[in-house]
Amino acid sequence: MARILVVDDSASMRQMVTFTLKGDGHDVVEAGDGVEALACAKVDTFQVVITDVNMPNMDGITLTRELRGLPNYRFIPILTLTTEASTEKKMAGKAAGATGWLVKPFNPDQLLATVKKVLG
């Protein structure tokens, strides 16, 4: 099972995602925005990063780009959480180096399927 970094400014979303992932046996660390996430990523190692896009201080797109710049995170799957309306956000995420995306609203099963997709 993997060590996963969950980044979202919404506490309820973090709770939901963390609860789901932990229930599936993963190890989860939460961060409330991109700045916090980047700090976590630098001192810890994660096998997957799941990040919201719209966040204060540092958004998910910038976070993705920053992570890809770190030697340890060049090949780590990074998933963005976006809303259905924002096709350009998916693409912006991809351009920044994201592996893929999960469209909000999603349910716990969809989340686990997506994580499984990147972990194999």
Binding site: A2, R3, D9, S10, A11, S12, M13, Q15, M16, F19, T20, G23, D24, D27, V29, E30, A31, G32, D33, E36, A39, C40, V43, D44, T45, F46, Q47, D52, N54, M55, P56, R68, N72, R74, F75, I76, P77, I78, L81, T83, E84, A85, K94, G97, A98, T99, G100, W101, V103, K104, P105, F106, N107, P108, D109, L112, K117, V118, L119, G120
Partner: protein
């Protein structure tokens, strides 16, 4: 995996209400015309989070409603739509509607569908009308599927040509995982194509030069297949063709059974091969703002602790008295001589020192526990900018709100009950206080009026000031009205202060035209009563033409009271210190007998009524001559009165026990407490005392 989503609802509602507050205050800061992108972005983000959460947690109506707001904000953000007053006001009203919807969802009650629909329609109309491009965005429609699914019918499988671009691995995608995903929807076989493989000395080991020809048999649709490759559309060349369309692809000799392990050559280290997690300190994950972290505790638990600490305080004060006796005993014992007795005296002194320390600890514990219930007054103040915004546009006045002291803390219960009186006072100041711009200019004042809200601590109390620079109270008019209503008589010779405070009398209204803003004059006395219920007082000072200041004085907490112990007859009573101005010894020369039996006392420049507490309580009163009696001067409804007591004892903090819950309401008493010696002392309600006194007086004069 089935998860009960309702466990996350509380967090969702909490952050959504926070989000609404952010939206509201930022909308109020937003300048019409040139909207600050950073502000719009903040508002957008709050709306976006609410929408996302609502969708996830199943509140679809909230999600749909927020979607329209979000679309509007998005257009404002990217500049395709101007920031108009109408749009801002609409968004503000939408925030209110959204709050109602969230409250209904939280409380599982019905929401006013009509109101929601109306507001929704307004937003949609804005989106359609003033040339925004994204006007036709449907509200939260299901993601549109453009791909027409090929009839699954009798298709036996797919031939997939997958040629990744060299940089595919850089996105964190991994062909092995994609093949595994394909295996889940059908029978997979794969042929690896090594044609592009670079010599060892060239190319980068991180680039991917392999390509695959995949054959997937089974009932999977083309969509299913494309979905597996959804994330790498731009990082590969992909063709998916029906096996039936092109004839069955015969299995070839070079088939590599899946799971395919890419040949050693040019594959990057597997992503999972990460170093074991270092035991590094991860910074607190919860914090959003640099606030201290907090836990949620039911208020009943806190109150239970406060109650227990209250009991501890009572026990402590009992021991305190015993401690004084101990010290005296120790003195007498040690002076008596004998070695054993000296040792005993030593023990007694240690015990008394221990008691002194216990006292200090108890006090600190008590203060600490009390602080748990404290919240910054910003919780109440934050309602005011919106109120001022809405009212000033309604009244066509220009008003600037200046807030200070919002970090001042007060008790949660006080906080919950002070909001409405404050709203009323602010409404009143805007409606009756601050003038319209033309009147202000004519009076030589700046066009924009100022409303100051200030809160601060003063000697164990909280003071809240609501100050405007408006017209002030017209004393002549107030007095005339009060006389007309029979509240005072013309020859009552009232001080300016007394006249001003007549506006708190029941049923008093001075507005020439009753407005829908401040109501019909039923308000000010209600304000006074609500504040009195919290153990506080309200008064007004005003200067005609310059403005008015309303001052609310509140106790820090409702559970403990700073009191003055007094004796009347055989009983001890507690007078709330907040009500006391001073205590003095009566000088016969200053007493005046007016109309009938009413006694007044000349205190410096003013005459104040004398209230004999024995008379109020119906006790034997043989002190006809008050000379040298003790008088406690209290403030009641902004006016002083002197209450005669038999004796003054010390001042002390007392724990308030409700009379209403333990006995019944008594007009002259606001509660009871237990003193150090275990006796029960009643706490005076000085307002009630004055009222009873007045009634007795009236009866006497009518009899006379």
């Amino acid at each position: 995996m089935s998860i009960d989503m309702s466990q996350f609802h509380e967090a969702f509602f909490e952050e959504s209400f926070e989000g609404l507050e952010i939206m509201e205050s930022e909308l109020l800061d937003l300048d019409v015309g040139a909207g600050d992108v950073e502000i719009i972005n903040t508002i957008f983000r709050a709306a976006h989070s609410i929408k996302g959460g609502a969708g996830t947690f199943g509140f679809m109506n909230v999600s749909e409603f927020t979607h329209v707001m979000e679309t509007l904000l998005d257009e404002m953000r990217d500049g395709s739509r101007g920031v108009t007053q109408f749009a801002v006001d609409s968004l503000l009203q939408s925030v209110d509607v959204l709050r109602t919807m969230l409250e209904a969802a939280r409380d599982k009650t019905d929401v006013d569908e009509e109101m929601v629909a109306e507001r929704y329609a307004t937003l949609e109309a804005i989106l359609k009308n003033e040339g925004g491009e994204a006007a036709d965005a449907p509200a939260s429609s299901a993601p549109t599927q453009e791909e027409v699914s090929t009839a699954p019918g009798n298709n036996s499988g797919w031939k997939i040509d997958f040629v990744p671009h060299p940089d595919l691995l850089m996105t964190g995608n991994n062909p092995v995982h994609m093949f595994k995903a394909l295996q889940e929807i059908g029978e997979l076989s794969a042929v690896v194509n090594l044609d592009k493989l670079q010599p060892f000395t060239e190319g980068s080991p991180e680039d991917l030069y392999l390509a695959w020809e995949l054959t997937l048999t089974g009932s999977a649709t083309k969509e299913d297949v494309l979905e597996v490759f959804e994330w790498v559309e731009d990082e590969c060349d992909l063709s998916v063709a029906s096996l039936d369309g092109e004839g069955k692809a015969a299995p070839e000799p070079e088939v590599v059974a899946a799971p395919v392990v890419p040949a050693a050559a040019s594959v990057a280290p597997a992503p999972v091969a990460a170093t074991p997690a270092k035991k590094a300190k991860i910074e607190s994950k919860q914090k959003k703002t640099p606030e201290a972290t907090s836990i949620r505790v039911g208020i009943d638990k806190v109150d239970e602790i406060i109650n227990l600490v209250g009991e501890l305080v009572i026990t402590q004060s009992m021991l305190d008295q015993a401690g004084d006796d101990l010290e005296a005993l120790a003195d007498s014992v040690s002076s008596d001589g004998g070695e054993t007795q000296k040792a005993n005296a030593e023990i007694l002194l240690r015990l008394s020192k221990g008691l002194a320390q216990l006292e200090r600890n108890t006090r600190e514990l008590q203060e600490g526990v009390m602080r748990i219930r404290m919240l910054p007054i910003s919780f109440v103040f934050s309602r005011m900018p919106r109120l001022v915004h809405d009212l000033s546009s309604k009244l066509s006045k220009k008003i600037e709100l200046v807030v200070s002291g919002e970090e001042t803390e007060l008790d949660k219960t006080v906080m919950e009950n002070i909001g409405d009186p404050m709203v009323h006072l602010v409404r009143n100041a805007l409606d009756h206080g601050v003038e319209t711009p033309d009147i202000r200019v004519a009076a030589g004042k700046p066009e924009t009026g100022t409303l100051n809200l200030n809160a601060f601590h003063q000697g164990g109390n909280i003071i809240i000031e609501i100050k405007d620079d408006g017209a002030g109270i017209n004393k002549a008019k107030v007095l005339a009205k009060a006389v007309e209503k029979g509240l005072v008589s013309e020859d009552d010779n009232l001080s300016d202060h007394e006249i001003n405070n007549l506006i708190f009398a029941p049923g008093f209204s001075t507005a020439d035209v009753v407005s829908d803003v401040s109501g019909r004059g039923v308000g000010m006395d209600v304000v006074k009563t609500s504040i009195a219920k919290l153990g506080g007082t309200v008064s007004v000072s005003s200067e005609e033409g310059k403005g008015s200041t309303f001052t609310i004085r509140l106790p820090l907490t409702l559970a403990i009271l700073d009191g003055q112990l007094v004796t009347v007859g055989s009983e001890s009573y507690v007078i709330p210190l907040i009500a006391i101005i001073e205590s003095l010894q009566v000088d016969r020369k200053r007493i005046n007998q007016v109309a009938g039996k009413a006694e007044v006392y000349k205190l410096r420049e003013h005459y104040i009524p004398i209230i004999r507490s024995r008379e109020v309580f119906g006790l034997e009163d043989d002190t006809r001559d008050l000379h040298d009696s003790l008088m406690v001067v209290v403030e009641v409804e902004g006016a002083p009165a002197g209450i005669i007591v038999d004796d003054l004892q010390g001042q002390q903090q007392v724990v308030i026990k409700s009379l209403e819950t333990n006995y019944r309401k008594v007009e002259t008493m606001s509660g009871a407490t237990i003193l150090g010696d275990g006796t029960v002392a009643l706490i005076w309600d000085v307002n009630g005392m004055v009222n009873v006194h007045k009634r007795k007086l009236n009866r006497n004069t009518t009899r006379a």
